[in-house]
Subunit: 328 residues, 2 copies
DNA sequence: CTGAAAGCGCTTACAG
DNA sequence: CTGAAAGCGCTTACAG
């Protein structure tokens, strides 16, 4: 390649990688020559070749379950910024919650030989994760499922967060609290529902099936759920939605239907996406910090990657915070 | 690799790639053997090795200027879905409009040896694009800059779209129309401003500097601009914002300041992002179709990739549509 | 119908 | 301080 400018290809490789370590020394003179040549030739080592030779791709992957929820693009971007600091590339993969696409992602991961992945998945089995681990890829999972002896978990204490929301709602005088729960197939949906249920219990409120609406995490589903809730003979005075997408949907439906929020129904969400401040009234919600998540995730990944043995599972719980705005 | 299951590594490669073409024939028997072995071994060819051997990465890159504008995550996701049909991976790169990150992206592109890229860039020079073309990567650019003899352009007729918006506003009786123009460094900003100006001209309205606010494309900037506009001795009765992010910002500011939209000020945006329907009043805007953009972009890329010579520049203009909602 | 061999562009012991 | 050589895991003429 760039040895057209003086020396051996070995030497070029050494200076490009600053391999001035163990028993390699490059004279300043040749180093300059090489650097100059590289510059004029506009030389850039092909990452595919490097990956092949070193068995390290310097690539991280992140899987996001959908794009329409701004939380995920933001998370992905944050991870990208974070990974750059360690000179890692990141490839972002959107599955739209499609099991087929999750499988395809697993395949792509393995074929590309990424060094690590941070993911949130509905479908992967322990066997799938085994494959990754065996292939030497580090994995951190958002949420607590599936648990795996050699994969890390990264999450908020979502149950506790929702319990705190419930306590707040009760303090506001609410005794009929509904939830728009999201899909039970998602760990987030399950955890948040669990928090709702235990919140009910702690305050001696009965669970009423009609106040629990399971939905997907899709735009539109929140409105539908809210419609059903408002049509109840005895409608709830407050509703906790399992994420902001749903909450905003529900809030808009209520407002457009002529109810006032929070007077007629209080609404609180989860995630704190940017849209939470552009609806009126502004959405009260629990803040899930994308940058914290990204930093912690990449850090855990890096520790695994820069370590020879495969570490046992770790679990990291990040802080949450309730953001009190106008909807509750 | 998987030849532990019978035959030569050549044969494996042949069956994996269905290379049953020119002078290669594989007996059904061996084919089955190989397939079976591959399955039990869970074999997946390493893409890095394939890329190295074939000089083709089967990867597309897309650069997006920011994430906070949902338009771009959506565009990226659409491109990803589209590329999958041709069995291409796509790597998404977010620059946040940072020139340094744009440079880094160029570098990453070249090193990774992507086959094609669709981009929208403020900073790349013709020389930068030359580098890509020479390296054999196909490039399609959103917008019309920089023009390059061997890169394709893909865009709406943004000028005409804005002229249509202006005509509509005039038809509604507006004679004092302002614009929140976005940055003049972006082609979108420039084009849309051009449309605004020519719209003014067509309807014999004078251009008034105080009615033209140049901003970044950042959340918050629209509010600031709207504040200035409303504080004018003679405020505008309508404002065209260069994108929905800005428009929504402006709309919220006006509403929160007690003006009614569109009675006191009409507002129209550009892009038609999902948020446009979650503000009240709902935003009137021009629809820029992400799926069309993605399909056309990937198609142009594929044509270049599957063609031996390098095609001369082409330009594709996509249709736009004004979506009339409540804000104007 | 199938295999041996060279080559893709790098890195890394190993010699000198 | 520097270079020759093997090897990373694939593909692809070329022989047979």
């Amino acid at each position: 390649v760039a040895e057209l400018a003086g020396v051996s290809i070995t030497t070029v490789s050494f200076v490009m990688n600053n391999k001035t370590g163990s028993n390699v020394w490059i004279s300043d003179e040749t180093r300059q020559k090489v650097l100059a040549a590289a510059r004029t030739l506009n030389y850039r080592p092909l990452s595919a070749a490097q990956a092949l030779a070193t068995k390290r791709s310097n690539t991280l992957a992140v899987m996001i379950p959908h794009v329409e929820n701004l939380f995920y693009p933001h998370l992905a971007a944050a991870i990208q910024r974070e990974a750059e600091k360690s000179n890692f590339e990141v490839v972002i993969y959107n599955t739209d919650n499609d099991p087929g696409r999750e499988e395809a992602f697993l395949d792509a991961l393995l074929r590309r030989g990424v060094d690590g992945v941070v993911t949130q998945t509905y479908q992967w089995s322990t066997a799938d994760i085994d494959q990754l681990i065996e292939a030497g890829v580090a994995v951190v999972i958002h949420g607590d499922r599936p648990t795996h002896p050699f994969a890390d978990n990264l999450m908020l204490d979502e149950v506790k967060a929702v319990e705190a929301v419930m306590a707040y709602l009760v303090r506001q005088g609410h005794r009929r609290i509904a939830t728009i729960a999201g899909p039970p197939t998602s760990w987030g949906g399950r955890l948040r529902k669990k928090g709702y249920l235990s919140g009910l219990r702690r305050h001696d409120m009965a669970v009423e099936e009609s106040l629990i609406r399971e939905t997907r995490f899709k735009r539109g589903d929140g409105a539908q759920a809210m419609e059903a809730l408002l049509a109840l003979p005895e409608p709830p005075t407050a509703v906790f939605a399992a994420n902001d997408l749903l909450a905003i949907d529900a809030l808009l439906f209520a407002v457009d239907a002529g109810r006032s929020v929070p007077e007629d129904v209080a609404i609180v969400g989860f995630d704190n996406i940017p849209e939470a401040t552009i609806v009126r009234p502004r959405l009260t919600t629990v803040h899930k910090d994308v940058n914290l998540l990204a930093a912690a995730g990449v850090e855990m990944l890096m520790e695994r990657i820069n370590c020879d043995e495969v570490l046992p599972a770790r679990r990291k719980i990040l802080p949450y915070e309730i953001i009190y705005r106008e909807s509750a």
